[in-house]
Amino acid sequence: MSAAVATKPTAPPAAKAQGKLSFPRLLRSEWIKFWSVRSTFWTLAIFLFAVVALVVLITLAIHNAPPESQGGPSDADRADPLNGFQAAVFLGQFAVAILGALTITGEYTTGMIRTSLTAAPKRLPVLWSKGLVAGFSMLVFGVITVGLSAALQWVFFHGVGIGVDIGNSQQVRALLGTALYIATIGLLAFAFGALMRHSAAAVSTILGLLLVIPLIFGLVPWKPLKYVEPFLPGNAGQKITMTDAQNAAQAAGNTVGANLTAWQGYGVLVAWVVVVLGVAAYLLKKRDA
């Protein structure tokens, strides 16, 4: 008996794609997307290198500064290992902000968003998964960067008494808070990117909020501005990068406007993210892609 062979026309039956759309799968997709464009690697590398180098250099500069009697920093400031971090992070945050914005505006400027939204037509899960992947990656990278900076600082300067004390919960909170701040600023930039769908617009908005507006508020002697100032995303968020003692010292010098604690300040930054992302989500659902 000969086996009947059914001859099928050309092309082998395609490996049957059994998949269904799901949120974990979207996360996986966004993960591939996030790490498969060069700008991700470059911005994170620049961020890491700039922050680590600045922390070490600023610590060196403070250590070598003239004594207090000649206009240098006080002994307390000199011994504070966190001083180097705040300036470094202030500069490093811009790399992360640009990365956060480009994560989504890059899809709009190239037309990729239409492919993404065709694959996941309910739309909102695309926004959430993208934000989660970007936020998580930036948080991990922030922790690595801060850890590496602290380690190098300790290697070079523990001999002269400067170095983060891992037993000091305030210092550890400030350092982890720094990584958290970085990731949250990245998310805020991401939210503006989702809202504006345009790289230049999103980047200039976030840079304006972090850099230009605080500067203007500082320069214009108009009292109502002082009430708003603590609630700007950068000013509020940076509270978590400081120890309670540093926050208290800053509050002591401030007579007008709110003095937020570390977590209150961070809460204000998170509120910014929630509001901007919420509006972006509403518009994503409503607008034509």
């Binding site: 998949g19 759309l21 190239t110 239409r114």
Partner: protein
């Protein structure tokens, strides 16, 4: 199966798609034909939920596209070539797309070789030619092995080999019982590829039916006659259904009568004929006939003085 009911899209005061109703059946290639700006792309974007209809509705296999649990295995769409991040490689683009539905790398490599992208799969999409971008778009549409395929101008930018490949591919997919809906502004391409035509102009369906029927209805048969007694013959022929035009002395172009009728009439009236030729209209003419009132962007007529100038 794609079903549209009174589908309408307005952008401000401009109506792009004007209450169209149609069904795209499985098992055959349905061509969506129309001039630029007729509403083809907008219609296709509404099918996959990228644009929201102002009115009406459209469903794919019985449900609005967004309500399917597995959109990519339901519908594969090529809506514009290069809806791709330019900084990513073709393979990573397809991997990311496949990952949304848990489709493995095996299928990714399969569609890469199906579309002939093996050599460039690791290169960044930004450097792709129009043709390669188009192939990547088709690869992306095929990734979920979908029941329904929606392709907007798939042969744009492809070389003749690529055009033939797309034609064979869509015909094969339709023969497997899938729904294939593809748009073009090229009548000749559609005549070769589509079983069924949906002709759209200014946002309205102006003709639909089997390709041969649509073309036949729109194609005008004319008869060309050369005769030394052309004016006599013209006088004999003219009637309510027959029009006679003459673009050169002694030659007539007759619409509304067959060559048999013209020849017999000439013989009965002892008119000498030097030439008697039935002329069937070209596809392009048929297309122009169908869409002449609904072309969005008319190229203006060349002024008469200019043509005379050239003739001299």
């Amino acid at each position: 199966m794609i079903e549209a009911q009174g589908l309408t899209k307005r952008y401000g005061p401009k109506t792009a798609v004007d209450g169209i109703t149609f069904t795209v059946e499985p098992g055959r290639v349905t061509g969506f034909l129309g001039p630029n700006g007729a509403g083809k792309s907008t219609t296709m974007r509404m099918i996959v939920g990228l644009d929201r209809p102002t009115a009406g509705s459209v469903s794919v296999n019985g449900k609005p596209y967004a309500q399917h649990h597995s959109p990519l295995t339901e519908v594969g769409a090529l809506l514009e070539a290069k809806a791709v991040h330019t900084g990513r490689s073709a393979r990573n683009h397809l991997r990311a797309l496949a990952a949304t539905h848990g489709i493995g790398n095996k299928r990714v490599d399969e569609v890469i070789s199906m579309t002939g992208l093996d050599a460039v799969a690791k290169r960044r999409v930004g450097g792709f030619s129009l043709g390669m971008g188009q192939r990547l778009g088709i690869a992306a549409a095929l990734i979920g092995d979908p029941h329904t395929l929606i392709l907007d101008e798939p042969v744009n930018g492809l070389d003749p080999e690529g055009v033939l490949w797309v034609r064979n591919l869509v015909r094969y997919l339709a023969s497997e019982g899938r729904t294939v809906f593809l748009s073009s502004h090229l009548m000749s391409e559609m005549a070769l590829t589509a079983d069924h035509l949906l002709v759209i102009g200014r946002g309205r369906i102006i003709a639909s039916g089997p390709t041969a029927t649509v073309i036949a209805q729109a194609t005008q048969e004319t008869v060309r006659v050369v005769s030394p007694q052309a004016s006599d013959l013209a006088a004999l022929l003219r009637g309510p259904d027959v029009t006679v035009n003459s673009d050169e002395a002694g030659a007539l172009t007759i619409t509304g009568a067959t060559s048999i009728q013209v020849g017999e009439l000439a013989a009965a009236n002892r008119v000498v004929l030097h030439e008697l030729t039935p002329v069937s209209g070209s596809l392009e003419e048929a297309y122009m006939t169908l869409t002449q009132d609904s072309v969005e962007y008319h190229s203006s007529e060349v002024p008469a003085e200019l043509t005379q100038e050239v003739a001299r």
